[in-house]
């Protein structure tokens, strides 16, 4: 009883409230975009949260966007996600691509590249790192990837990532880095050194900086910054950077 009244107070201003699965949200299903973490009941059209996390409400093109962001590390593939995969096998006209350790590999056809044909095969080997888009992710079928930008039919930043280093962060952080161009940690880091970065929704990050030392420093900074608050970023970044130089 007490929880219900507490929640109804919070729902007056729903941004940044803590939600657990089963909470009643009373969202009207008109003009809304639902992000991950929701389930729509087929019979009653009721919107039920399935994840525990912080509810984020924002507006986008006259529609209200509801997203529940929870801290998770296990990646579940969804269509249109940009991911970083490692080639784990080649089988005739297919590549097997690992999106995370100990989960079933995804598939990628050799024709899923710009200008691909029987005579023009991509030069990918086992162990290569690629930046790809999830083409389809249905239940009980293997996930399919492609390395073509769907709108232009060209490379669009997809394809093999050469050299550099690969590491993982939690999924929420990876999404934050991918969709926020002005993420504080990156704007601060670029003041210290130049680097190339690729972020995958599966939590993997690829980075290439000028020297080995700077690359290791950047990796350490990004890994540790998962636990830093926004205000602490410049000071802590300086601290870790100094330890390396």
């Amino acid at each position: 009883m007490r929880k219900k009244t507490l929640c109804s107070f919070l729902y007056a201003d729903m941004t940044e409230s803590l939600i657990v699965p089963g909470d009643r949200l009373d969202i009207k299903p008109e003009n809304i975009i639902l992000g991950p973490g929701f389930y729509v009941d087929l019979k009653t059209d009721e919107i039920i949260p399935t994840n525990a996390g912080i509810l984020e409400v924002s507006r986008k093109q006259n529609k209200t966007v509801y997203v529940i962001d929870s801290k998770s590390k296990t990646y579940i593939p969804k269509t249109n996600d940009f991911v970083i995969g490692i080639i784990t096998g080649t089988f005739g006209e297919l590549y097997k691509v690992g999106l995370s350790e100990f989960t079933q590999a995804a598939q990628m056809s050799i024709y899923a590249f710009p200008n691909a044909s029987k005579k023009n095969r991509p030069h990918l080997k086992v162990g290569d790192v690629i930046y790809a888009r999830v083409l389809s992710a249905e239940r009980d079928i293997e996930v399919e990837l492609e390395c073509i930008d769907p709108t232009t039919g060209k490379e669009g930043g997809f394809g093999q990532l050469e050299d550099g280093y690969l590491f993982t962060v939690n999924l929420a952080y990876a999404r934050y880095l991918l969709f926020n161009e002005n993420a504080e940690i990156l704007t601060e880091l670029v003041k210290k050194c130049k680097f190339e970065l690729a972020v995958g929704c599966n939590g993997r990050i690829w980075i290439k900086a000028e020297t080995i030392k700077t690359t290791i420093a950047c990796v350490k900074i990004i890994e540790e910054s998962q636990n830093w608050s926004k205000q602490d970023i410049p000071k802590k970044l300086k601290g870790v950077w100094a330890a390396f130089n």
Binding site: D128, D163, Y165, L166, I212, K213, K220
Partner: protein
């Protein structure tokens, strides 16, 4: 593991850099928590975590060794340590290597005095058992497990016993102070990984350049081309040495590794002893000591 990571790691090693910023001969931070039970130890070396529990019971000694007690170490790798250990094939190899090294380092080096475990020759003796649970597998489990077992043995206390007319009387912990085990020396394992920048041919001919690092993490271990484990104690004695295959390493290099290992072992031995001493001080209640009657042994 991608080729990118593989190449990056080797290039970094050539410059003397490691992925977590450590120097080649720098160990990760060691933390030991003892108690509350005697012989209960939680060891973490960086992110590698191990729980060791020592237990004892009275049994009949082996027929061919009537004057000795029994000591066993049981270490099992399971999915809790790392998901890859859910597959039997990978687990078997690692398990055998790990138990073999701990066996050589602690049992065969006679760290635990087995004769002190004898109660009545040929009839009754103590059987001490170390159960190792790997909580987090992050490379270098040999060193972590070794420290756990030896710290557990140093911390453990068995119930006091007295013999009356051929019968063994086991005293409860509250009746009589439990007795520590007789540990003759403190062996500590130090494991090094060897990498080569040249080809196999160069290495065999002696033309290649080898890099050695201590206390590898999981990623560094995955790319290793050779492993050497040295077990030393603070008396400057080499208890055991193990290098099973892998690429060749110059003899001078191995000798200098023993010097590096000695520094690490001295450091860790001091820390283990301090931890156990601090725990002992916390357990002894000064007032209780005043009121305790000193039992005369029959």
């Amino acid at each position: 593991m991608s080729t990118n990571e593989h190449q990056f790691l080797l290039k970094a090693l050539e410059e003397g850099l490691r992925l977590d910023g450590r120097k080649p001969m720098q160990m990760r931070h060691l933390n030991i928590e003892v108690g509350p039970d005697y012989g209960q130890v939680l060891v973490s070396l960086g992110d590698a975590k191990v729980v060791v529990r020592i237990s004892s019971e009275i049994v009949t000694p082996y027929e061919d060794r009537p004057f000795e007690g029994i000591f066993q170490v049981s270490s099992e790798l399971d999915g809790m340590g790392h998901p890859s250990f859910n597959e039997a094939s990978h687990r078997q190899e690692e398990e055998v290597m790990l138990s073999r090294l701990i066996e050589k380092a602690i049992r065969r080096s006679n760290a635990l005095d087995l004769e002190s475990l004898c109660i009545i020759a040929g009839q009754k003796c103590w059987s001490v058992r170390a159960d190792v649970h790997i909580i987090d597998y992050d490379g270098n489990m040999t060193d972590t497990v070794c420290i756990g077992v030896i710290a557990g043995l140093l911390h453990f206390k068995k119930p006091d016993i007295s013999i009356k007319n051929g019968t063994v009387i086991l005293h409860d912990m509250s009746e009589r102070e439990p007795v520590p085990l007789s540990i003759l020396h403190i062996p500590i394992c130090v494991t090094f990984q060897i990498y080569s920048s040249g080809s196999m041919e160069d290495n065999v001919k002696g033309d290649g350049r080898e890099f050695v690092i201590v206390d590898a993490t999981l990623k560094e271990e995955a790319l290793t081309q050779g492993t050497i484990t040295l077990t030393l104690n603070s008396n400057k004695e080499l208890c055991q040495m193990s290098k099973s295959g892998g690429i060749n390493l110059e003899v001078d290099e191995i000798l200098s590794l023993t010097n590096e290992a000695q520094i690490i072992v001295d450091d860790f031995t001091k820390y283990i002893k301090d931890t156990i001493k601090k725990d002992e001080e916390l357990r002894v209640n000064p007032l209780q000591k005043e009121l305790q009657v000193v039992n005369s042994r029959e």
